[in-house]
């Protein structure tokens, strides 16, 4: 039997959901990188993570994204900068100085310390289209955590804060357990950070 006659078949359906999830992961990755610079609370939360720490959020199976094959033909920097989605993943790194950096979607050559894996594209779609809050997704067993659980709790808290910054109240309320009152987060802080995060995430 010639094994080459039986190539690995990659799922190619649900293109809209895949592209949507990939864009959301890219946005969240960039937003966390910016929020870590501009917001004190996010900075304090991320300070709890150890230095030289790499975190990945991805959708299983790893190589399911159709553009994966085409990405290989492009120059490396295109993928590294996160300009093209190389698989449905988001990699964040905290360096020795405690700076958070979005590392795109290519895990090659990176040691992943915390891996948060959505079990399938539908699970990721439910969470990232805000039909299910992070807590409900956790209860409904939508993702697997590989690595230190304590760090995943830190990440979930950061995700909650960033979602509150990025999304209007009507949508953010679906994503988090409790939408903060003015006393917990002033509207000025929320709106200023929202503008800053969006501008910086989409520009540089």
């Amino acid at each position: 039997m010639n094994i080459n006659k039986y190539p690995e078949i990659h799922p190619g359906k649900k293109l809209f959901k895949r592209v949507y999830v990939a864009i959301m992961l890219w946005t969240v990755g960039k937003a966390i990188q910016v929020a870590a610079k501009v917001d004190k609370e996010v900075k304090e939360e991320l300070a709890k993570l150890p230095d030289n720490f790499t975190l990945r959020m991805m959708v299983a199976p790893e190589k399911a994204f159709p553009l994966f094959f085409y990405a290989k033909t492009l120059p490396a920097f295109v993928v590294d900068k996160g300009l093209l989605f190389y698989g449905i993943q988001m990699i964040l790194h905290k360096d020795k100085e405690g700076k958070i950096k979005y590392l795109g979607a290519d895990p090659k050559g990176k040691k992943i310390d915390l891996n948060i894996v959505f079990k399938n594209i539908e699970a990721a779609w439910m969470v990232l289209s805000f039909q299910e809050s992070t807590a409900t997704a956790y209860m409904h067993d939508r993702f697997v955590v590989e690595g230190d659980l304590v760090h995943s709790l830190t990440f979930v808290r950061v995700l909650d804060i960033v979602e509150i910054f990025l999304l209007p109240k009507i949508i953010a309320k679906l994503a988090v357990k409790r939408y903060p009152k003015w006393a917990e987060m002033s509207p000025l802080r929320k709106f200023v950070k929202r503008v800053v995060i969006y501008i910086r995430a989409y520009t540089f």
Binding site: K48, E132, S133, A135, T136, Y138, M139, H140, D141, V144, V145, E146, G147, D148, L149, V150, S152, L153, T154, V156, R157, K173, L174, V176, K177, R178, Y179, P180, K181, E184
Partner: protein, 421 residues
């Protein structure tokens, strides 16, 4: 009945319960093709003569030679690694855990390292990190409370980081749990009280926290009923063997319930207080349970109100207005704690400021509350709580629980949408 959008439920531990249950162990171990068990226990259990009770019960059919009795109250991963090392040195093929929560969790941890290889337990931290079947594990609980014999979680401390780590996998579940009232007969009254209230907390939190499901609910409801009917009776009459067997069963049922529906704020705070101040788990649970219910009442009051039926019986349930049921539940739990306080001569603590060590010194100083509140963010139980709990919220609950005042619910932060189960 509330049917959640999704749930999974797994309970594949064989349970043997009865006055002569211990005698069944050799035959059951043989069926699992295990012949050389390592007994994991602590000094207290050995001192109370419980290992000898097991030895006499299994007779000549199973020789108990290898005994590790150095498990401390708050077991850490270094002890687990040590047990796994001894397991390999003595060529053991199974583990028999005789003890309370700490011993059972240590045995679960040791079983991971001994079965899967490697040097340290830290390699297997997290959800679903254990991915294949482990060697046979038999659990004989000596307290009626932890329910650890039925859970897929092992909670083990990391003294360097001052946290309790969670190891979660279906493969961690023991193969056999043996409930025999001889094992809890010598348990002092205040420990009987606090461990049973621990089981009560498991059942209540399983019933109202986010991962609730109909199967867990049925176990939780029955466990609450058995505990409320038997606990005070057993504390007042320690020789009541039927009552003790009932409590052991309730503890196991509560274990099944919370293993499949997780726990919330009460355990979140309790784990953290245990890790920082070394408060016994059962004591922290019995103190914090009414506060946990009060904190979540605006999110799931109706569900908390349903607990009144097994807790107080159908007459009280029917007589109480639907809106008043959750408050009545809290009131009855507080009354239960008070009754236990009186029945044990003040050794069952009702508030955090009442907990003292052997020398009479306060175990939870008020100055440590902010530290505890901050550390709650690092405990996995916070995820399953219906209401968000940030350090400021934890501080509010802790202050009230320390002073012994009912929670001022007007100060609880609100603002979430309807709880989605």
């Amino acid at each position: 009945m509330l049917l959640p959008g999704f749930y999974d439920f797994c309970c594949r531990v064989r349970i043997v319960s009865g006055q002569n249950a211990l005698e069944k162990i050799p035959a059951m171990l043989k069926k699992m093709k295990a012949h050389t068990p390592l007994v994991v226990t602590d000094k207290g259990v050995v001192g109370a003569g419980l290992v000898d009770v097991v030895r006499d019960a299994v007779g000549k059919e199973l020789e108990i030679v290898n005994v590790f009795d150095n498990v401390p109250v708050d077991s850490d991963y270094k002890i687990v690694d040590e047990v796994a090392k001894i397991y390999r040195q003595k060529n053991c093929d199974s583990i028999i855990a005789i003890g309370g929560g700490s011993v059972i969790d240590t045995a679960k941890g040791a079983n991971i390292v001994a079965s899967l290889g490697g040097e340290t337990l830290l390699d297997y931290e997290g959800f679903s990190a254990v991915k294949r079947k482990l060697n046979p594990l038999v659990v004989i609980p000596t307290t009626a409370g932890t329910g650890s014999e039925m859970t897929l979680v092992a909670v083990i401390a990391d003294p360097d980081r001052k946290i309790k780590m969670l190891f979660v996998s279906y493969f961690i579940l023991p193969d056999l749990a043996v409930l025999d009232p001889r094992m809890t007969k010598t348990l002092p009254d205040f420990l009987t009280a606090s461990t049973a209230m621990d089981a009560m907390t498991h059942a209540c939190e399983a019933y109202y926290c986010l991962e609730k499901n109909p199967l867990s609910d049925s176990f939780a409801m029955r466990a609450i009923k058995i505990i409320s009917e038997n606990l005070l009776k057993v504390v007042k009459n320690p020789a009541d063997m039927e009552g003790r067997l009932a409590l052991a069963n309730a503890s196991t049922m509560a274990g099944v319930a919370f293993s499949n529906s997780m726990v919330g704020l009460v355990h979140n705070l309790g784990h953290t207080i245990g890790a920082i101040c070394h408060v016994p788990h059962g004591t922290a649970m019995s103190i914090l349970l009414p506060y946990g219910m009060e904190y979540n009442m605006h999110r799931c009051g109706e569900i908390i109100g349903e607990i009144l039926l097994p807790l107080a019986g159908p007459e009280v349930y029917a007589q109480t207005n639907k809106k008043e049921r959750p408050e009545k539940v809290v009131e009855l739990i507080r009354k239960m704690n008070n009754d236990l306080y009186e029945a044990t001569g003040g050794r069952h603590s009702r508030y955090l400021n009442e907990i003292t060590d052997k020398n009479g010194a306060q175990v939870v100083p008020e100055s440590l509350l902010p530290v505890i509140a901050q550390a709650t963010m690092q405990d996995g139980a916070r995820m399953a709580n219906p209401e968000e709990c940030l350090p400021a919220d934890a501080m509010l609950v802790l202050e009230h629980a320390w002073q012994g005042k009912p929670l001022d619910r007007s100060k609880v932060n609100k603002g979430g949408t309807k709880v989605k189960y």
